[in-house]
Amino acid sequence: MASPRGLCTIIPMNTKAASILLWIFEVVAVIAVIVIALTIAKQFSDETALRKINAAEDIAMMVNTLVALPGDALVEYPRDLSKFSVALTPQHVIIFEKDAKIDGETRNFILPSCHAATETAQKSCYTAVGIVEHKAKVCLKKSGKTIFVEDCLKP
C-alpha cells in the first residue's frame, strides 16, 4: 500500500501478528506491575529497617532519660545490634548498616545547653559522643555530663 505522495510504503501488519504483539505487551505489563508491587512490599516489610527505626527511637529516649538522672549510670541496650553501627553526637543518634549518610536512621535529642565562654567551663557542659560498630551488646554510659555509647564487653 503506497502512501498518497508515494514517499514511503506502509506494509500492512498481519492481524494475528498485531494481536500477538498486543497480547505479549499486556502480559509483560501485568508481570511488571506484579514485580514492582512485590518489590515495594518486600522493601517495606524488611525487618532490618524496622529494627533500625526502633533502635534509634529507643536510644534517643535512653539519652533523654540519662539526662534526667542526677548521677552516673551504665545502661545496656537489651536488643542485639550486631547488624548495625551506632553513632552518638551531641544533637542526635544515628543507626546505620554501612553508611550513615545512605542508610542511616537519625533521631534528635536536646541536651541541656551550655553558654560557657571559657574552655574550662565548656568541659563541664553536657555532651554525647561515641561510635560502636556491629556489636551485639551496646551500652550507654553517663559519666558526669558526658554520655558515651560503647561496646558493653569492652574491658
Binding site: 499486556e26 508491587a37 529516649m61 539526662v67 534526667a68
Partner: protein, 189 residues
C-alpha cells in the same frame, strides 16, 4: 488488515494509556498505604517521649532540681525556687532550635504561686499535660506541691496571632532597651 482490526489496535492503545495512568495511581496509593502502615508499626506515643524529656525538669540539677550544698546530693522530684525564678534557666535546661523548634516538644511549667516557665518555642498550644508531686525548696525548707507540665507536641506551623504577638513583644523590648540606653548614656553624637 480490515477496518475492524485497525480500530481494535487503536482501541487497545487508548485502553493501555488509561490503564497505565490508573495503574500508576494505584501503585502510588499502594506505596502510601504500606508506608503509613510501617510508620504506625514503629510509632512511639508522644506521651512517653515527652515524659522522658520532662523528667529532667525535676531531676537534673542543671534544670530545676534542688541540690544540697553540703552533701551535693540532688533530690529527685524536687524544685529549687531560686532556680525556678531564675531568668533564662529554662534555656539552659531545654532549648529548642530557634527557627524550627516548634516542630518538637515544648513545655510550660506551672508551680503554685510562682510565675510559669516556658521553653523558647512554646506557643500556648498544649496537646497534653502531666502532673508531678514535687518537693519545693523555698530556701529554708521543703514543701509539698504539684508541678503542672503542659506539653506542646509537634506544631505544623506557628499560630499566626501568637507569632505576631511575639514579634510585637520583641519589638517593644528592643525599643525599651534603646530608650534605657539613651537615658543611661545620653545621646550618642
Amino acid at each position: 488488515m480490515s477496518e475492524d482490526d485497525i480500530f481494535d489496535v487503536g482501541r487497545k492503545t487508548i485502553y493501555w494509556m488509561i490503564a497505565g495512568f490508573v495503574m500508576a495511581m494505584v501503585m502510588i496509593a499502594y506505596v502510601m498505604i504500606i508506608g503509613g502502615y510501617k510508620a504506625r508499626l514503629t510509632e512511639m506515643p508522644n506521651e512517653i517521649k515527652s515524659e522522658f524529656i520532662a523528667l529532667r525538669f525535676v531531676n537534673n540539677l542543671d534544670c530545676f532540681a534542688y541540690q544540697d550544698p553540703s552533701t551535693k546530693r540532688v533530690f529527685p522530684f524536687s524544685i529549687d525556687v531560686a532556680k525556678f525564678k531564675e531568668e533564662k534557666r529554662m534555656d539552659k535546661c531545654y532549648l529548642t532550635e530557634k527557627e524550627k523548634g516548634y516542630k518538637t516538644f515544648n513545655f510550660k511549667l506551672s508551680l503554685g504561686q510562682y510565675e510559669s516557665v516556658r521553653t523558647n518555642n512554646y506557643f500556648e498550644a498544649p496537646q497534653s499535660q502531666k502532673e508531678y508531686n514535687v518537693l519545693v525548696w523555698d530556701g529554708n525548707k521543703f514543701e509539698r506541691d504539684t508541678l503542672l507540665i503542659e506539653v506542646q507536641e509537634t506544631l505544623p506551623y506557628i499560630p499566626t496571632d501568637i507569632k505576631q504577638e511575639k514579634e510585637q513583644q520583641q519589638t517593644q523590648k528592643e525599643q525599651q532597651k534603646v530608650q534605657h540606653e539613651f537615658v543611661d548614656n545620653g545621646p550618642k553624637i
